[in-house]
Amino acid sequence: MTSEVDRRPAPIAPAITGPSLLSRVYGFGSIYGKAMRDSRRAVLLIAIFMGLLLVGVSFAIVQEFNTPASRQQLVAVVAAVPAILAGLAGKAVNVGTLGGYLQYKYGSFFPIIVSLWAILALSGTLAAESRRGSMEFVAATATARRRIALEKLSAHLTGQAIVALVVFVALFVVGRSVNGLPGDEISVQMAAGYAIWLFLLGIAAGAVAFALAPFVGRGSAAGVAGAVMFGGFIVNGYQAAIPTIAPLANLTWFGWTSNHVPLAGQFDWVTLLPVAVVAVVLFVVGVEAFARRDVGATSPIPTPSLPRALVGLQGPTGRASGQNLPSSIAWGIGIGLFGLAIAGSGKSFIDELGKATDFVKLLNQVFPGFDIRSVGGFLQLLYVEFGLILAGLAAATLVGVWAGDETSGRLELLLATPLSRARWVISGGVAILIGIVVVTAVAALGIAVGAVIAGGDVVQPVVGSLVLALYAAALAGVGVAIGGVFGSGYAAPAVAIITILTWFLDILAPAFRLPDAVHALALTSHYGFTMLGQWDPVGIVASVVLAVGGVLLGAWGFRRRDLRG
């Protein structure tokens, strides 16, 4: 009875509502939900890009190659592609059909995109958060470390699955909608085979980064995973051309699944299993490493430092140049290797191209004004047209390095010295131009080597490739102007966007027969055909004016605005 007397009514607790299911799935209700929210733009961008590209390209292929004869020519061109280029494409199986051609042309390109995304995301999902310190807060909650890792991992896998699903749906729609030739149908099995393969290749590359990141940190993990992925891709692609590397081809999933060509109707399902197993094992390693190791404790892979003379401690121009140098060399090597491959294969490719008249007609419609069946025309088509995008993106990178002074906050300290605002902008601009010279010089070396290998003229390709420097300098000027006037945080993204828009404009305006005035908006339409020795002074003058004027405008603008805090 006493207990009855003593018993007090239990206090009515205020109704505490936990996070909603929706916010747990997408929002701030869970680590998974937040990770999904954080990656929403990447998922949407990649899914829309791949989906639209597949649909658009499929309709274009069916429309352009609408006769059995044109398909035969397409098969002949693909067969004629020199080994040095063929290694970068997919396996040529049934390329006379829509699915076979899609697999050949884009089949190996899409896995690179999703792999890069997976590497960037999974190398950073735990390591970057540990480094910036926010993981300390997350790990201090009642959530176990394993669960943190698993939720973040699951979010990325969901994103990859969504992209794979969109690709599947796009292929399914294409398979039902295109009114092509017999054999162009894409079955559900083919679409599913491709989507699953794409998903597994993406997560396998990401798994390498995820497993390594707790040990070596984000940068090194991403670097190693990228090297494994690209190395595997290249070795697999070139094993036929270079038999000595063939034994290495089976070290990665590109080699394991090389006979799985689903869109061409060739399946090798069993080979997908080891890819999945490797990914799961690496994910377990990553989760366990994160759970057992100290948060943020890594042993970065040592990288060589710049020689003291190149570090640039004497003044702002030297310092900015020293900061740019690694990026400049990297871009130069990248573009140079591209140039080497193109220049080295030019002669043999145009010999074969001459036999495919319909294909040449199509190319001339998209790239009018020059004969692509000449070596210069071929270099103009492949090296300059695509090199200009790379040069623009290199300029965006260098502008981003310059902008880092302000966006990181160190400009506060720099400008507290007698360094004037105008001098900072001009020094940065000069350093970017020096970086562009380095990029172009290294790239020119690549094209020169390629020309020597092909046994052709060296001078004209090298001189012609200098157009990349002009374009990059012009974009850098625009970037510095935007950074100086509006804030350097906008500079690099603006340069990247202008690069891509210009490229589209230059490509689409002739293809869609848009007015000349529209095409003329693209700076790249004003350089002439530099690989054929035809230089347009308008482009040269415009580039110099944009480069110099942009830097001066940036210096003027930066004097007038607040430093971003």
């Binding site: 401690l313 506060e412 010295t417 004037s420 430093l563 805090g565």
Partner: protein, 300 residues
């Protein structure tokens, strides 16, 4: 005394957001001046305006008699600055970073530079990204101090430093002051200002609420007094004294709060048989909180 910093009706607005409003302030040559306020009060905005990193919406600031917006470079030649939050070059070592800033300034005494490095116990061989927060702060301090500037602008300078290094920092500041150099130091750590500053300004919500000498600020504050009597507590004799408030008793102990001069309480206490008399001098922190607690600003 020459005014090194003169701030006149300085206002900075960020659109809808408040920055600083009508700040008036003077700092004399050779003075150590503390700039106190809670997070977001406007300390960093004021300092960044002094550096011309951001431009005033209205009003003006002069340093060494030069308008900060007219010739900031002439000012920068003579100042040393440590931001509240900063980043430097991740891939450079601490030594390379210090060397680079010495090159940007020119004329840095390498011996003094090395002395600072040694006194702050900084390992200059490591890359900046590998440093702890405290060691990054040490690099920033060497960068700010190495050229013996006429004016030091230090925003939260001891953030992240261990107590021993903090003592070294205070020594360096005292030495700078002894050499006739001027120090302008912002902080929300009151004991830090108490140890280094001659005068203090308190800023709240972008408005300067008080400027005075450190000692005067203390005098303005209350004293917490505790009297232990041998006999009964004469509450009435003390409760009516000027400045006395919050009177409480417990057994034979009388506790009261005294604002302004404590003399009337001491004189009254002398009339009684006391076992103990304790008067606790208010810390600057209590002064500070008292200022904020009142919720009204007293423009300097």
């Amino acid at each position: 005394m020459t005014a090194i910093i003169q701030i006149e009706k300085l206002t900075k607005s960020y659109g809808e957001h408040r920055g600083i409003i009508d700040i008036d302030l003077e700092v004399a040559e050779g003075e150590a001046f503390g700039f106190l306020g809670p997070n977001g009060a406007g300390k960093t905005t004021t300092i960044r305006t002094l550096l011309d990193n951001i431009r005033p919406t209205s009003g003006r600031a002069l340093i060494f008699g030069i308008d900060t917006t007219v010739d900031p470079i002439a000012i920068h030649r003579r100042i040393g600055y440590l931001p509240g939050e900063f980043a430097l070059y991740d891939k450079l070592t601490g030594g390379q970073t210090i060397e680079y800033f010495a090159n940007l300034r020119g004329g840095v005494d390498a011996t003094y530079q090395q002395q600072l490095v040694d006194r702050l116990d900084l390992d200059t061989s490591r890359k900046f990204k590998e440093y702890s927060k405290g060691n990054k702060q040490k690099v920033g301090l060497v960068v700010a101090l190495q050229h013996r500037p006429d004016l030091l602008l230090l925003d939260e300078p001891t953030s992240g430093l261990d107590p021993l290094v903090q003592q070294t920092f205070y020594e360096v500041i005292r030495e700078a002051k002894a050499e006739g150099r001027t120090v302008f130091l912002s902080s929300h750590i009151l004991s830090e200002v108490e140890k280094t500053a001659d005068r203090v300004a308190i800023i709240r919500d972008g408005i300067l609420v008080k400027v005075d000498r450190v000692e005067a600020l203390r005098d303005l504050a209350h004293h917490q007094v505790e009297l232990r009597f041998a006999g009964d507590v004469p509450v009435g004799a003390f409760a009516g004294l000027p400045g006395v408030s919050d009177v409480t008793t417990e057994d034979n102990v009388l506790r009261l709060r005294v604002s302004g001069s404590i003399t009337p309480v001491v004189r009254e206490a002398a009339n009684y048989d006391l076992l103990d008399f304790v008067s606790r001098e208010p810390s600057l922190e209590e002064t500070f909180l008292a200022q904020y607690g009142r919720g009204t600003g007293e423009a300097a």
